[in-house]
């Protein structure tokens, strides 16, 4: 029998599709599908509500809500913290609070929370500024770049159209704008696309090889702390003894290992390993010429009246005020005014009409200086420097090495009745032949004890002539020869001071013949010369005193190479550019050193082909100017490898965002 031959009862029609219950003939009811669906629609949401309510109440929020795994560095740091505190490390209490209005917690900008850990990286007050630079600096940089840069001729059309402009307030950039967390452990928080970097910049370009602006002054023209003439050394001295080993690039720019990263090249090596090989001897000689701290000039008699100026220093105006003396006199307005009338500090150069008064003022000022030092010691010296705006710290090595008693005014200046050395006439000292009586031949002969006892030291006699027998001692000790005749050969004379033997190892010494206090240098890195250079570097550019000091032979031998020392703060060494966060451009030799074709430094750093030594000298003199000694490194040199398919050409490869100045 087929299906259609089967006769069954008709289906009851006593219900409706929307009924929730249906009843059979016995009256037993069963839920219809509609009824069951209704039941589920009411029950299921209630169950879910209760379930989630319990979860939100009893389960810690840090377990319930996890917007994504943290990056590895942050995850490691926060691994030991409790769940509730993990979120609070980066999110403010107000955000974490369940209160809708946010009044449940402390309002705190997220940048401040970031800076709690990253405060060493940058100034917290500038953390939210673009590039961590104040607006004024950014605007100035933008103006400089617009003037200097060569804009790309053919920027990529696609990039020009596609690159959107960032919707950012450059004065309030959140850290999370660029560093997006909760995207997984392996995500690099510092990764940025070139388009993202350029979104804030008004001029955009496409790929590095074709579109990046050309540069013509990088990497040269930076630094300048140490002046080294590459052209001269490699041209003139290429055949010198030892040049083959001493003039290798790696000799002065050795690889230096760091604990964290691969080896990079040092900007300069130690003096002992590099320059000393050829220059130490000459430098020693220059340093040993030393300089004077104090030197009493010879002033006219009219100027010396009433001052008690040493007689040996009275006469035809002569003498140069040492730069250090002039510096110490500057705190005295009268002395400073008087010094302005001395071209180059030379008393002989004063105008005739002003000579007497000026010399008198100077002499009084010098005496006052010595008197102050006698009374106040180091403090007097420091006070004078501070009053003219010199940072006292730079001068401390000088005064620590210099006993104030050496500047006491009692030795050279007139004290009534005192047989001071300063009372003697110049002829007594300069041309005297000293008898060998077992005493130190370098000291002038002194009267014997009997002669001294015969004299009343406190008699107050002012007029002590050079012919006073009691002071001079035996006549036979006086050389009767003509003082204006040519001096005898040195072997027949004994000078008052011979610094080469007295302070052979360097140091301060007092020359009572010349009435000077001098310093003899020790050679390279002499601490006193360093201190003095750093002191005078604080004077303003164009100050004649500053120029005069740096022209002193012993000083010039230092600053000729250490040009950075003439700035303030001084820079004696070439500052490492690796890790220098003041620069927008970053470069490390390390990854390039492993490429065999770049083993030869001249692959990138080619000495300029200057046809003559004169041009080389001009180039060296202008080493502050871009690539004077070297051919400039062009963009195509870098672009040979730095493409998107090879070494990478992202902005962040060579540029940094966070700048510290």
């Amino acid at each position: 029998m087929r299906n259609d031959e089967l006769e069954l009862a008709e289906v009851p029609t006593d219900d409706r599709p929307s009924d929730t219950w249906s009843f059979d003939a016995d009256g037993q009811g069963t839920r219809t599908w509609t009824g069951r669906r209704q039941q589920i629609a009411i029950t299921a949401p209630l169950v879910l509500l209760v379930f989630f309510g319990a979860v939100f109440v009893f389960v810690p929020r840090s377990v319930v809500f996890k917007p994504g795994p943290l990056s590895s560095p942050h995850a490691q740091i926060l691994a030991g913290t409790l769940g509730s505190e993990r979120c609070a490390a980066c999110h403010s209490d107000a955000t974490l609070s369940m209160a809708w209005s946010g009044n449940g917690g402390v309002r705190q900008h997220q940048n401040d929370l970031c800076m709690k850990c990253h405060q060493e990286m940058m100034d917290s007050s500038l953390a939210s500024k673009a590039h961590n630079l104040p607006r004024s600096v950014r605007e100035q940089l933008s103006a400089d770049i617009r003037r200097a840069s060569v804009l790309p001729k053919t920027a990529s059309l696609v990039s020009a159209v596609w690159s959107p402009r960032a919707k950012l307030n450059h004065e309030n950039v959140a850290c999370s704008t660029c560093h997006k967390e909760h995207h997984g452990a392996d995500v690099d928080l510092t990764a940025m696309t070139s388009a993202q970097c350029q979104s804030c910049h008004s001029v955009r370009f496409g790929d590095f090889a074709n579109s990046h602006p050309e540069w013509d002054n990088w990497p040269y023209g930076r630094g300048g702390e140490i002046a080294f003439d590459h052209v001269s050394h490699l041209r003139k001295h290429a055949n010198a003894r030892g040049a083959a080993t001493h003039l290798l690039c790696v000799r002065c720019h050795p690889r230096q290992t760091s604990g964290t990263g691969p080896a990079d090249l040092a900007r300069s090596a130690s003096y002992e390993n590099t320059c000393a090989v050829c220059h130490d001897e000459a430098l020693q000689v220059e340093a040993e010429t030393g300089l004077a701290m104090l030197h009493l000039p010879t002033i006219p008699p009219a100027s010396a009246q009433g001052i008690g100026w040493p007689d040996v220093a009275v006469g035809f105006p002569d003498g140069v005020i040492p730069p250090l003396t002039e510096l110490l006199l500057r705190s005295d307005p009268d002395a400073a005014e008087a010094m302005r009338k001395l071209p180059g500090g030379d008393i002989a150069a004063i105008k005739e009409s002003e000579l007497e008064a000026t010399a008198n003022v100077l002499a009084r000022s010098i005496r006052k200086l010595l008197a102050d030092v006698s009374d106040g010691g180091h403090a007097a010296l420091l006070e004078r420097l501070v009053s003219i705006g010199i940072a006292p710290e730079t001068f401390l090595p000088v005064i620590r090495s210099l006993p104030p008693q050496w500047l006491s005014d009692s030795d050279w200046f007139e004290v009534p009745g005192s047989p001071a050395l300063g009372m003697r006439s110049p002829s007594d000292f300069r041309f005297a032949a000293f008898a060998s009586d077992g005493t130190n031949e370098r000291l002038p002969a002194v009267p014997n004890d009997e002669t001294l006892l015969d004299e009343d030291l406190l008699s107050g006699e002012d007029d002590v002539s050079a012919d006073h027998d009691a002071l001079l001692g035996a006549d036979e000790r006086i050389d009767e020869s003509d003082p204006l005749s040519e001096p005898d050969s040195p072997s027949d004379q004994n000078w008052a001071v011979d610094p080469a033997s007295l302070v052979a190892r360097g140091g301060w010494y007092r020359d009572d013949v010349r009435l000077a206090l001098r310093y003899r240098g020790t050679g390279h890195a002499d601490k006193i010369l360093v201190s003095l250079i750093e002191t005078f570097a604080q004077l303003s550019q164009g100050d004649p005193l500053r120029d005069r000091f740096f022209e002193l032979p012993s000083v010039a031998s230092c600053v000729e190479c250490h040009r950075g020392a003439t700035r303030f703060p001084p820079a004696w060494r070439a500052a490492a550019k690796i890790g220098d966060r003041t620069q927008f451009t970053k470069f490390s030799h390390a990854p390039h050193l492993s490429i065999s074709s770049l083993d030869d430094c001249s692959h990138c750093h080619r000495i300029a082909d200057l046809p003559s030594d004169e041009m080389a000298a001009v180039a060296f003199a202008a080493t502050d100017h871009p690539h004077a000694e070297f051919h400039p490194i062009r963009r195509e040199s870098c672009a040979a490898c730095h493409t998107s398919a090879a070494a990478g050409d992202d902005c962040a490869t060579c540029h940094r965002y966070h700048i510290s100045r």
Binding site: L48, V64, P164, C178
Partner: protein, 273 residues
């Protein structure tokens, strides 16, 4: 629109949806490149998509308002579903979220999306299968029909006069047919209905013919008809249950998804710096 062929309409709809997804991706990329919040953009887009998807349920419950054809709404619902699923994958950093809540949210969305695609499939295939069966049955009357078939089969057994026929068919009925007629279909059959059971029973009945006289064979024929009727009933029941269960599942999860998505949006805005 009625003059355009269905395949053309489908092509246009897919094209428009693809374009919309493309535009969304481009805008998200653009926002990301300008240091904007691409996740906020895609998240809001996905949330609006969910709201739009829910509107179909609202439309179904308000048939009296002139809001357009339900079939048009369904088509819109389908393509908005495609779009929202694509936006989800643009939005999320990982497919399954971390954390209890985000994991629930992502599983919820994926379940709703998967059930949506499944619903699209079964809504296109099951009606044909249902229409191929004679006697369109109401789902709520399935039990009544089962009872009717079972009582009819009992009546056939009771009506057997010949002792030999009664013995053969009675034994077969007691052992095989009575459990078949009186019980509900197995879960395996409901999940994956097939003709195996039907073929088996009909084959067994055919085998009994050599033991039966003509009256017995007529009775066996009636039993066969009842087996076919019952199998058709069970087949309809399975397919209708599948459709209805899918709808409940899809609807409930959609509500849960909406609830969780709103919480997620509130939290995301709160933590946006």
């Amino acid at each position: 629109m009625k003059g355009i062929r269905f395949s053309t309409r489908r092509g246009i709809s897919l094209l428009v949806t693809s374009l919309a997804v493309g535009v969304c991706w481009v805008v998200a990329r653009w926002e990301s490149e300008r240091l904007g919040r691409a996740d906020i953009f895609t998240g809001v887009t996905a949330l609006l998509g969910l709201f739009a998807l829910l509107l179909l349920g609202v439309r179904r419950r308000i048939p009296f308002l002139p809001l357009g054809n339900a079939s048009v709404w369904t088509q819109i619902h389908i393509y908005v579903g495609f779009f929202t699923t694509a936006v989800y994958f643009i939005h999320v950093p990982r497919i399954i979220g971390d954390g209890f809540f985000e994991c629930f949210l992502s599983l919820c969305f994926l379940s709703v999306s998967a059930s949506g695609f499944y619903g699209l499939y079964i809504s296109r295939t099951l009606p044909k299968k249902l229409a191929a069966i004679e006697n369109q049955l109401r789902f709520d009357r399935v039990n009544w029909h089962r009872d009717e078939i079972a009582s009819t089969a009992r009546g056939v057994v009771d009506g057997l006069v010949d002792s030999a026929t009664s013995r053969v068919l009675g034994t077969f009925y007691g052992k095989v047919l009575e459990p078949f007629f009186s019980s509900r279909p197995s879960l395996a059959y409901v999940i994956a209905p097939s003709g195996n059971r039907r073929r088996q029973l009909l084959g067994d009945l055919k085998e009994l013919d050599r033991y039966l006289e003509s009256d017995g064979r007529k009775a066996a024929g009636r039993f066969a008809a009842l087996v076919r009727r019952r199998d058709d009933l069970d087949y309809q029941f399975a397919l209708q249950l599948r459709l209805r269960t899918w709808l409940v599942f899809h609807g409930l999860l959609s509500v849960a998804l909406m609830f969780a998505a709103v919480i997620h949006a509130v939290l995301a805005f709160r933590f946006t710096s």
